[in-house]
Subunit: 285 residues, 2 copies
């Protein structure tokens, strides 16, 4: 528990409102096959009801479905490719209407959406990292990233309606100054450059997205979800970035009951370089 309104590691779930209390987690797992042990440990200890993964790095026929299913997820949707990217959604609640878009027409598996009970649309994203050089002319990966975010903005702008939606995943952008260990030193580092942050802001505005995690954990507070493998002593040095996000549409803002970055997971044996991010929502019944 890191916040007053935290999600509570396996805590009680008393509900003050009328809906159904649901814990949603997003985690860039950096290869699901090699990470089954820490995944099991995370699920057993944090007990998410819905688990969204990125960078599964496995084609669908090779996905370790049984292992993940046996953690208590009766429902799932997966969408993977060889070597890179790959997204998946596991759920204790029924999932409907799995769908995806091929952003930038590259054939990448970077998006997967499902419908939750109560008509809530959930979108799981893995936004391109963008390479090293923050110049779209010199670096096609950065160009790809910017176009990807623009397309997301347009796509959701065209769907401004009253439908409750959740957008989450590894967006590979840390928007706030408190989302990085040093705003000044990262201004020219891909993930925190002004052009990326601005485009992410436009995307949020285009659909009135609410940053659910920052509704709970004040924007003044430092908060990270990723620490490089290259940093030895990542915990002490704490040179992190908040690249993983959970957003909700305005109608769900009042449903937020807690949020947390499961930082301890970054310290597990065989850890991913990302920590899971969680929110508790009181979903419409």
């Amino acid at each position: 528990m890191t916040t007053a309104k935290g999600t509570g590691k396996g805590g009680s779930r008393r509900s003050a409102a009328s809906g159904r209390r649901v814990r949603i987690a997003t985690w860039n797992i950096n290869s699901v096959r090699i990470r089954l042990e820490p995944l099991g440990r995370f699920v057993r200890e944090w007990k998410p009801d819905i688990l969204c993964l990125q960078e599964t790095k496995v084609v669908d026929p090779d996905f370790p479905l049984d292992a993940v299913r046996s953690l208590g997820f009766a429902h799932h949707a997966v969408r993977g490719q060889k070597s890179y990217n790959g997204v998946a959604i596991f759920s204790r609640l029924p999932l409907a209407s799995p769908a995806f878009e091929d952003w930038c027409d590259k054939g990448d598996c970077r998006h997967l959406s499902v419908e939750l009970p109560g008509g809530v649309e959930l979108h799981n994203f893995y936004v391109p990292a963008g390479g090293d050089i923050p110049d779209p002319d010199a670096n096609p990966k950065f160009d790809h990233k910017l176009r990807f975010v623009d397309q997301m903005r347009d796509w959701f702008a065209r769907r401004r309606d009253s439908r409750p939606r959740i957008l989450l995943g590894d967006l590979n952008i840390a928007p706030l100054e408190t989302d990085v260990w040093s705003h000044k030193q990262l201004l020219k580092v891909v993930s925190h450059t002004p052009v990326e942050v601005e485009k992410l802001g436009r995307m949020m505005e285009a659909h009135d997205w609410v940053d659910a995690v920052r509704e709970v954990i004040p924007p003044e507070e430092k908060l990270y979800s990723w620490w490089s493998y290259r940093s030895p002593d990542w915990d002490m040095a704490d040179k992190g970035r908040r690249l993983d996000h959970i957003w909700v549409t305005p109608g769900l803002k009042g449903a937020i009951r807690g949020a947390e970055v499961a930082r301890a997971v970054r310290g597990f044996e065989m850890a991913s370089d990302h920590a899971p991010v969680l929110v508790d929502l009181e979903l419409p019944a």
Copy 2:
């Protein structure tokens, strides 16, 4: 303990003769860096005084010297290269005059010799495996193997003197019918072809070598030191081959006190595909 005259896993060392009782082990460890745990376990349980390794697969500056030294070996000589081959000798007794030959002038690290107290010369070899096709014209690796053994024969033939010597290592040839799980099925399989077996025999004759292990374990008995990784259930199937050997010059024949293949080591976690081979010798004081 597998034989009446076995070496005794950590047993007592009462000496009937005047010399110094020394336990010598040879093991193709198939990467020393990845095998430090089974190596430690083997050394703690079998307590060899001299440990000869092959296929260490590491250049000298990267050799995990401290880890192996801390198992009780105050003296050592190593000779490694990148990726392939590599030999090493560790010892509780002082080692003198490290030396080597570049057999077949390929720059391979396949040989290392030292002098033990009492003037005994110890030669640690990693003979080329020889590829798949047992035809020196069609397969340059097989040609290399045959020339390597020929050069060993000539080299030791030129040194027929009264000096006590030990030759050991992964010779990659199983000479006896009882050294393979099926003599008939392996006659055309590299490691047991007549041409290899004959060349190994000539090498033995050229220096009057005595097969120390077979002095203890009768040649009629099946005995293997290697089981392929590809065979699942290697222990049950037992499709092994005796590729690892310990030979001594005639003057040391009477010094042999025991011999053993540490087959259990092949069943360790993270096992090499070879098991260590050991002899106990009563070395001249």
